[in-house]
């Protein structure tokens, strides 16, 4: 399986390393994922060690050396780092976590790998079909769900948020000139929606596959140039070739071998077959796994109110580049005994990225309020009460209060239940 190549991108995460300090070591506090507040960053040296381990695991995956150990290590390290601070949540990190998890179960080391040199008995020309299909299915879910998420009024009929983002990109070389036109935003919105929803079909239908792949490359390259989305475009471009036929991958493998002067036996047919997984546990497990993947993104329907406003059920649902949202949150801490109230200078606690993310997401606002309560209580304040005035703008609408500014947030807890303390979303701009 040439899928190991996809993991090649992971080594690019070296770039990340400059970020270890600013994102993971320096901040005074981290925003945790619901249920994962026990995850804490290691001291500086420990964090670097995790990243070095991750890099080694990547190399292991690429060259197929102690493959399973490498994938497990990579999955654990990556997921651990991701779980430290929710403000860095990105859908593609989630995607990487899921894929690296799936990779653990896929015997991708059975051909063209050092594990075979280590133990030739492992060699296997054929890989079970389910392995590839599982990853195909996952990629399909990502695209289709991202496409369906774009089916909303703002995206389709107001070309928002692209009508905000594109005009800011007029200085992009060559194509920059077209971004000032409203039409371009509409075009991009609709093409983006159709692309996400239907690209998977293009990839599944053989005659269309090359065309679809070209579309994938063009689409992701363009978004990569336009938006600050890190390695995501590369991840997707490298993930998609899994849809290509076996012979394509054999060709690639042979070329790669000659390029590396890697003396493997001329690669014979690497056919996908063996419909059923050899391990009986795997099938039910996959079933449960994908059932979760398919249903979890729909949980937002159980919450009242506007999804973009409350963000209840927003994450882990492949909603990417969907809205332009920003907030300014001012926290007031009141001494319950003396009654004296003062405001908090956020940047004394948070880095700019954390502050920006926190200021528009109700669950993070709540976390910060609880942190402040602890912080001032430890400094001897009696019964600190914390309230917040949070002005949020969504897709260029005038800013509105997200929560009741008089509410003592320390009395609220984050749960799966709807957050009744979020003020309703007002669409119209009457003031």
């Amino acid at each position: 399986m040439a899928f190991g190549a996809v993991m090649l991108f992971s080594t690019l995460r070296y770039i990340w390393m400059g970020w270890i300090d600013t994102q993971l070591v320096d901040p005074l506090l981290h925003f945790s994922y619901y249920g994962f507040d026990w995850i804490a960053p290691l001291p500086r040296a420990g964090m670097y060690a995790v990243f070095i381990l991750m890099a080694i695991a990547c190399i292991g995956i690429i060259i197929g050396w102690y493959y399973r150990v490498s994938t497990i290590t990579y999955f654990l390290c990556f997921t651990y780092v991701e779980l430290i601070d929710i403000t860095y949540y990105l859908n593609h990190y989630y995607f990487v976590s899921i894929v690296s998890f799936l990779m653990i179960w896929v015997p991708a080391n059975r051909n063209f790998s050092l594990d075979i040199i280590r133990n030739p008995a492992l060699k296997q020309e054929k890989v079970s079909r389910w392995c590839i299909d599982a990853i195909k299915l996952q990629i399909g879910i990502v695209y289709v769900y991202a496409g369906l998420a774009k089916l909303n009024y703002d995206w389709l009929f107001k070309a928002l948020p692209l009508a905000i983002w594109l005009p800011a990109k007029t200085s992009v070389p060559i194509i920059g000139g077209i971004f000032k036109y409203k039409f371009t935003a509409y075009l991009f919105s609709w093409v983006g929606m159709l692309f996400d929803t239907f690209i998977i079909l293009g990839l599944l239908i053989k005659p269309l596959r090359w065309l679809a792949f070209i579309a994938v490359v063009v689409f992701h390259t363009l978004t990569g140039i336009l938006f600050q989305i890190g390695v995501f475009p590369l991840v997707m471009i490298l993930a998609v070739p899994i849809f290509f036929s076996d012979s394509f991958h054999e060709n690639l493998q042979t070329k790669l071998s000659s390029l590396l002067k890697f003396r493997s036996q001329p690669s014979t047919s690497l056919r996908t077959h063996k419909p059923a997984p050899q391990n009986r546990l795997i099938l039910p497990f996959l079933l449960v796994f994908f059932l979760f993947q398919l249903t979890f993104p729909w949980r937002y329907m159980l919450y009242p109110g506007n999804l973009f406003w409350t963000e209840e059920g927003y994450r882990f649902s492949w909603r990417v580049m969907l809205m332009e949202k920003a907030g300014t949150a001012t926290f007031y801490v009141k001494n319950g005994e003396s009654g004296r109230e003062g405001s908090v200078i956020n940047h004394q606690f948070l880095n700019p990225h954390q502050e920006k993310q926190m200021a528009m997401q109700p669950d993070l606002i709540l976390q910060f309020a609880h942190y402040l309560k602890e912080y001032y209580a430890q400094r001897g304040m009696e019964d600190p009460q914390v309230r917040a005035e949070v002005w949020v703008t969504l897709n260029a609408r005038p800013a509105r209060l997200l929560i009741d500014p008089a509410l003592d947030l320390t009395e609220k807890k984050d749960t799966w239940a709807p957050k009744e303390w979020i003020l309703p979303f007002q669409k119209n701009s009457t003031r």
Binding site: W165, K182, A326, G342, T393
Partner: protein, 372 residues
């Protein structure tokens, strides 16, 4: 591809189309108005306009006023009397007033190795203890010291106004060591602003104008970011902290105001906000129209509404500043007018901060995002 596979795919396309069309139906029932024309704003022109008509002239004014300060300090060092002290103070007031019109431009050449110049040379309150120690020690490496509260504008202020001494006592206290330290601190100022002006005029201007994107690190992003930080500094450090309105404070502390020794804090608050307004409205310091954020906003989706909201908020702030008690701010720091001004500045923060950067599509940090 076999027949069943083709059938399945057909079915799949069918289902997806149905889902798509029905959702479109639901979604389009929504309503909303307000659709601006094609936005078309020339950021390079804005950068050129603000650099040539606001940033550079303001730094030039500051450069010339710190040099005048240096001249007056030399005169005072040679003939140390109350008349020369008065002249020295006048030049200081001019310099620190000009500083209010530059403090928002702490990027590029004005971003020094220890941070934006206003942090490095404009830190208050001063540590009297450290200043007195440095006077005794002499020969301090000011350019590289981390003791930002023993150098810069307000250290000069402490030295030439003193804390409670009469003018005669103050003049008498100026022995050679004290004169030397005063000149050393002022020399640090002149060197810095000479450099900033010369860098702006030699190479940085072109660099500034040509980086006309909106991503993190672009000129617009730097200019915008420093504008917002400077605005927040006005609220946080010039008003909120001395007024005891920061979380955890139990009382006011008038000695924390800017320009505590000279007592001109109130004027400086006014000048500071004047510069914030110049940046937003697009005005040179002398009031000539240039390109500001207001014009930029008028070209983007949702901009008109934000402009109206912001203008209202600015008027309210202007009135709140005018309502501040006359005289020393440190004496009136507990007045309700101070709290009102703080609240109004706070109320406008979202307009300047999140709403504006959101509409303009300016990236503040280098972190990648999902676009949410």
């Amino acid at each position: 591809m076999n027949i069943t596979e083709t059938l399945n795919i057909r079915k799949l396309i069918g289902i997806m189309l149905i889902v798509l069309i029905s959702t479109l139906g639901i979604v389009s029932c929504d309503d909303d108005g307000d659709d601006p024309v094609d936005p078309d704003f020339d950021r390079a022109a804005m950068l050129e306009s603000v650099a040539s008509n606001l940033i550079i002239p303001n730094f030039e004014a500051l450069q010339s006023s710190v040099n005048a300060l240096e001249g007056a300090a030399n005169t005072f060092a040679q003939s140390t009397d109350e008349a020369n002290l008065a002249t020295l103070r006048t030049t200081w007031v001019q310099a620190v007033t000009d500083h209010q019109h530059c403090s928002a431009f702490g990027f590029g050449p004005a971003n020094l190795s220890l941070g934006p110049y206003a942090k490095v040379l404009g830190t208050f309150p001063v540590s009297e203890e450290k200043v007195e120690r440095n006077v005794v020690t002499g020969d301090v490496d000011l350019a590289n010291t981390f003791d930002l509260n023993a150098k810069g504008f307000y250290t000069v202020e402490y030295l030439i106004y003193g804390n409670g001494a009469t003018d005669a006592e103050l003049v008498a206290s100026f022995d050679q060591a004290r004169k030397d330290y005063l000149l050393l601190v002022i020399d640090d100022l002149t060197t810095t602003f000479d450099n900033i002006v010369s860098e702006w005029k030699s190479s940085y201007l072109q660099e500034f104008i040509s980086s006309d994107g909106t991503s993190a690190g672009s000129s617009i992003s730097l200019y915008y970011n420093e504008f917002v930080k400077d605005y927040e500094n006005l609220k946080n450090f010039k008003l909120e902290l001395p007024a005891g309105l920061t979380a955890g404070q139990e009382s006011v502390d008038g000695s924390l105001v800017e320009a505590f020794y000279s007592g001109i804090s109130r004027d400086l608050v006014e000048e500071h906000f004047e510069n914030s307004k110049n940046i937003w409205f697009g005005l040179s310091r002398s009031g000539d129209p240039i390109i500001g954020f207001e014009e930029y906003l008028s070209e983007v989706e949702g901009g008109t509404a934000l402009i109206a909201t912001t203008k209202d908020a600015i008027t309210v702030i202007d009135n709140a500043i005018a309502a501040l008690p006359q005289g020393r701010l440190s004496d009136n720091i507990g007045a309700n007018e101070v709290k009102v001004l703080r609240d109004e500045l706070q109320a406008n923060t979202a307009n300047f901060k999140s709403s504006m950067s959101s509409l303009l599509g300016i990236s503040i940090t280098f972190n990648s995002g999902d676009g949410d």
